[in-house]
């Protein structure tokens, strides 16, 4: 297993380099934007000397490379600046809002994966039949629907017309007061279930369904398409033909061999799919007034709140990089060729 350990070390180093690169890009982007952060920090009715003082305070008068050094140092140290808008440390705000976004993205991903992957597998094994073609069209349709539009439609239909699901938000205000959820992880579904708070659990569930479904549409389409093509590739592989030529029973070939061969590319599918889930979550949050990073970012953009914009960009990238790292390591564990 020595080569596995070597691979892990190599990937970790790569990840660190990528994170440094990401922070550099983000830093650069923030600095070249047109508005004056100092003026924004102080507010609209500021006087000239207040702006100047703010500039010195924020370190904006130092040379660029010094700013970058301070930036990296602070980043590692956990000081991600103060939000111009909320006046709270950015890192604190992010930690507050992150669980909501993660919960939404994960639920959406679970829906997408549990529909998408099996459908892709079926489509691949029944290639070129009616089932295959119709699932392909459905998948492409799912990929073509604008996530923000489907969210609105879901709101109109289920919340307005049918009235069975709430329009927006994460929890009913009423319930939040009468049956508050004791926060452990920040994931309402888990926390309420674990503390036996079924009233809140049901309510949280009702609130998360519409946004999660809106989110899941794109990822489902993606999962179906990618699983189908990887399964077709796997089923076509010469080594399966050899296995058949040696008389191995079809069940064994499908479920022992082909499945293991398919896991690695499927993990890749998961990685890409989750990346899109996180992206889509931002759009969905805006529509459903979901108190997550998306809404936070949205407000930050309106208020030209730099530290927040930078912070969220970095955290989003971190999450993706981390998820991909985990998936890559899982792949390396299963398929020895990856470790080369």
């Amino acid at each position: 297993m020595a080569d596995l350990r070597r691979y892990i070390a190599k990937r970790l180093i790569q990840t660190i380099i990528i994170i440094l690169g990401i922070s550099a890009i983000t830093f650069f982007l923030a600095r070249i934007a047109p508005s004056d952060p100092a003026a924004l920090w102080v507010g609209i009715h500021a006087r000239a000397e207040q702006i100047e003082r703010a500039r010195a305070e924020l370190g904006l008068d130092r040379p660029l490379y010094v700013q970058y050094y301070i930036y990296i140092r602070d980043l590692i140290g956990g000081n991600w600046g103060i939000s111009y808008r909320t006046r709270r440390p950015v890192i604190e705000d992010i930690m507050n809002y992150l669980p909501a976004s993660l919960e939404l993205a994960i639920i959406g991903q679970i829906i997408a994966t549990s529909i998408g992957i099996p459908l892709g597998v079926i489509a691949a094994s029944k290639k070129d039949t009616r089932i295959d073609h119709s699932s392909r069209v459905l998948a492409i349709a799912a990929l073509s629907v604008p996530v923000f539009w489907i969210g609105i439609l879901l709101q109109i239909f289920f919340a307005r017309t049918l009235g069975i699901l709430p329009i927006e938000g994460r929890l009913d205000l009423h319930i939040a007061m009468t049956n508050p959820i004791h926060e452990i992880t920040g994931f309402y579904l888990i926390d309420s279930l674990v503390t036996g708070n079924f009233v809140a659990f049901t309510d949280a569930l009702k609130h998360i369904i519409l946004p999660a479904v809106a989110l899941a549409a794109y990822s489902t389409g993606l999962s179906v398409r990618m699983t189908r093509s990887t399964m077709i590739e796997v089923l076509r592989e010469k080594y399966l033909k050899t296995a058949r030529a040696f008389g191995l029973p079809e069940n064994q070939i499908r479920f022992k061999y082909a499945l293991k061969n398919a896991i690695v590319p499927t993990l890749m599918v998961l990685g890409i799919s989750f990346s899109w889930s996180l992206t889509g979550a931002f759009l969905v949050e805006v529509i459903f007034n979901w108190p997550g990073l998306g809404t936070y970012l949205w407000r930050a953009i309106l208020a030209v709140d730099y530290p927040v914009i930078v912070g969220i960009t970095i955290i989003a990238a971190f999450v993706i990089v981390f998820v991909n790292l985990v998936l890559d390591l899982a792949q390396a564990w299963i398929d020895p060729r990856v470790r080369l």
């Binding site: 040696f246 008389g247 191995l248 064994q252």
Partner: protein
Amino acid sequence: MTSPLLSVEDLRVHFDTYEGVVKALDGVGFEILDGEMFGLVGETGCGKTITALSIIRLIPENGRIIEGKILFRTENLLDRTEEEMRRLRGGKISMIFQDPTVSLNPVFTVGQQITDVIAVHQHVERKEAAERAVEAFKLVALADPEKTLKLYPHELSGGMQQRVIIAMALSSNPDMLIADEPTSSVDVTIQAQLLKRLLEIKSSENLAILLITHNMGIVAETCDKVGVMYAGNVVEMGAMRGVLKNPLHPYTKGLLEAIPKPQTRAKRLPIVKGTIPDLINRPRGCAFHPRCPYTMEICRDEKPATVEIDQDKCVACHLVKR
């Protein structure tokens, strides 16, 4: 006369493709006896691989066996059920393919793969199967068999991978081994070693081998009998020495002339000019006639029937009927 191990009669196989129905095999027939090495030779596209796949019934999905008989001992394999065929594959008849580097599953060790095959055919527990696997590895002269079991395919060289595959094929003591271009993907020295080993196994185990190749030179050196295929037909078949000394079909002559010999001091190697015919719209007469240096009027109109010259020899050519 002993009854043949394998007897293929008038085999016709068609493929449905985008451009039309490809009539890949147009009446293939030959016989292989126990312990005999039979070389099926011909250029790319002549249908030799399809023939082999038809024997174990693993032709691609868009292929159909239209007609013919494949008699293994006395049973017609084409009448057998899929489950019966599955038990045959790797059991009584084994087939190995050209490129060993893509024939082994990369995410399992070679030990796991050969143990699976042994366990399926010999109905033994995994531990017993592992021991037999080691025996099989010794048979193909793989160094350090116990250690090799734990390796992944990509950790082995091409030659070693091919030995593993041969070991898997022979592990259940088959009556016949079908080898489809087993040496084309390895370099010449390994090629020689593998062939030598195969010949040794053939005599020690009385194994019949159907060797499929485009390389007439290898066939000439190793096979007892040879069948020359062209465009889905066997155009000449007979004992190796007889065919070498006295080739009857013009195509056979061309193939033999194309083998580079040390004595030859000509500047260019003689080749058989032209390409294989369109298999979708097959020409009416003899499939070879456009390229044949001895072609006659009748060759264009009538397809030559297979004529038995003597006990072992037959040929399909209008020249011979006379």
